[in-house]
Amino acid sequence: MSERIREKLNILADAAKYDVSCSSSGGTRKNDNKGLGNSHASGICHTYTEDGRCVSLLKILLTNHCIFDCAYCVSRKSNDIQRAAFTVEEVVELTMNFYRRNFIEGLFLSSGIFKNADFTMERLLRVVKKLRLEERFNGYIHLKTIPGASEDLIREAGMYADRMSINLEMPTESGLKLLAPDKSHQEVIDPLGMVQRQIVQFKEEKKLIKSVPKFVPAGQSTQMVIGATPETDKDIMQTADTFYKNFSLKRVYYSGYIPISNDNRLPMLGSQPPLIRENRLYQTDWLMRFYGFNVNELLNDANPHLDIDIDPKLSWALRNMHYFPIDINVANYKMILRVPGIGVNSAKKIVQARKFGKLRIDQLKKIGVAYNRARHFIKCADSPYQLKDYQSTQIKSFILAESQSKYLKHDTNQLILF
């Protein structure tokens, strides 16, 4: 018995690991029925894998049998791998016992499509229902919406899940058609829109009637594979931006493609996953969501790709030197937020602290500003007088000279000599 379940867990956890999302934030479920679990508003990462990704949910597939043959996926029909499937009871048992030992924040349940979409969705629904109703489990549940499943099933699942997600897989329709001819973006957009409308509707009702149940309280997310098809960063971020705007997604995840097959449409086996590019995309994503940047400021026709050697905020600042230097003691919050080396927390502290007197360099350093980077773009009470204006290329070389990027050591790009 225990050997079999170990084997299943190994196969199905291994197949689920390419889903990046592991967040457990935004849940609002309270333990008011003397049951197990209580959500934590900001989520908790219980451990981290050796590749540095957080583990906060038990992330498994219900089964890795699949009727589709998508070139980028390990569980594709034509791939020769071990197949397995959990029973509903096994998933429930594992979740409850892991949660009791404080290993996890909850369950992330996905599945390969067996038979058809409705049959798969119905199975997923049975797992969450059993957890919520029979076991009185109030932990976090992230459920995959199966594209093509009926609206009723999805709506019912939404009553028990905290977050639902569907993966966009490829940033553009043409990329998706190339690798997964059976799929289309429309299949993803329909259920995303459906769930989104429901969330809004439930929220409206909740304003009037307090007893309205929760519906996907932690919102929806999606994921795109990066580097499998030749899209530019501009394409990727504009797709992400549209999805953030149209479906008020909580997150878009970018997953650097890890070569898993010999297919000649894909990067060959053994090539490095595009980790730096992935990192830069996430930085851009953060700038869009928390720093008030518009996607077109960071990526446009003149700059369709993000710089590899410097982060997108610095590269925006270097392209727009006419805004700088700004005076920390008078500039508005939005502008302070745009200075490279100043983050959201430092910016807030600066705005509060300057009411009490002009800020000096040593105070800025203590507040947490990366001063060596920021000093080219700001002035404060005791900034040294500077006779000459530096060009943006000079500033870039100053910053690069004193920063030790972990990426520069294994930069794989070909040098252009002439």
Binding site: L9, A13, D51, R100, N102, R136, Q352, K366, I367
Partner: protein, 256 residues
């Protein structure tokens, strides 16, 4: 300059504030009596903790500050760092001397120091919430021994009580020799004998419930199979899970 000596308790610290406002002796430094090294020329004054005076100061603080700042003061105190008492004392005096809102002045060294220390304590508390691993004993109790950098146990009770309402559990601080015990209804503070304490860390198989080893094994398997070797990044891994916490983590124990 005078030196105030207090007994190291929060009550003593607040009494010192009261004393200072009553006498207004000018600049003062606050030192813990137990750690104090007197020198030949200083004037010392011993502060005798008074519950009443401390309560008055605390009430005044509660009227002046938002909840978040009251919590920051408590957290900073729980850090148990010797220099934090001085910063807390100076900060509280500064707050009462200035119009409300002075706690926003991050340019003031005491404000910044207390805010940053409180943040460190909150981080340690959050890490404990993440890294505590319960083991299921044969008598049905889930238990775990910890030795956090700061005294965060008082901050942990609420989180774990809300979360695990249908199981009995013990979290025991092995460094400070006290723990929390939840018996399905109430949460209480407990202390154990030294021999019992040592059992907490190196659990023998006969103390554990029969399924405990299976789930520990399943968790280790899960941890291994969810890793993507092509993306290995040890530096990042150690940054998120510092090595001093590995002794708690089931997934980091070597298989016997």
């Amino acid at each position: 300059m005078q030196t105030y000596l207090f007994d190291g308790s929060m009550e003593g610290l607040l009494t010192a504030v009261f004393e200072w406002f009553e006498r207004k002796p000018g600049a003062v430094v606050l030192r813990n009596q137990a750690l104090h090294q007197p020198d030949a020329f200083e004037q010392c004054r011993a502060i005798i903790s008074s519950e009443q005076q401390a309560a008055r100061v605390w009430k005044g603080l509660q009227q002046r500050l938002e909840k978040g700042w009251i919590r920051r003061l408590t957290c900073a105190y729980l850090s148990e760092k010797p220099e934090v008492h001085e910063h807390l004392f100076q900060l509280i005096c500064y707050l009462f001397q200035n119009p409300p809102g002075a706690e926003m002045n991050y340019g003031n060294e005491h404000v910044l120091e207390v805010a940053q220390t409180a943040r460190k304590v909150e981080r340690e508390k959050h890490r404990m919430e993440a890294f505590i691993r319960f083991q299921h004993a044969a008598d049905g109790i889930f238990y775990c021994g910890i030795d956090p950098d700061f005294n965060v146990l008082p901050l942990l009770g609420k989180h774990f009580r809300n979360r695990y309402q249908d199981q009995q559990w013990i979290i025991y601080d092995l460094k400070r020799h006290y723990g929390l015990f939840f018996d399905l209804n109430t949460l209480e503070e407990i202390t154990m004998q030294r021999e019992e304490e040592s059992n907490l860390m190196n659990s023998k198989p006969d103390v554990l419930s029969e399924k405990e080893n299976l789930y520990a094994l399943l968790w280790k398997d899960y941890f291994k199979s969810t890793n993507i070797p092509a993306r290995k990044n040890t530096k990042l891994h150690v940054q998120h899970v510092p090595k001093r916490y590995w002794k708690y983590l089931t997934e980091k124990q070597v298989e016997i």
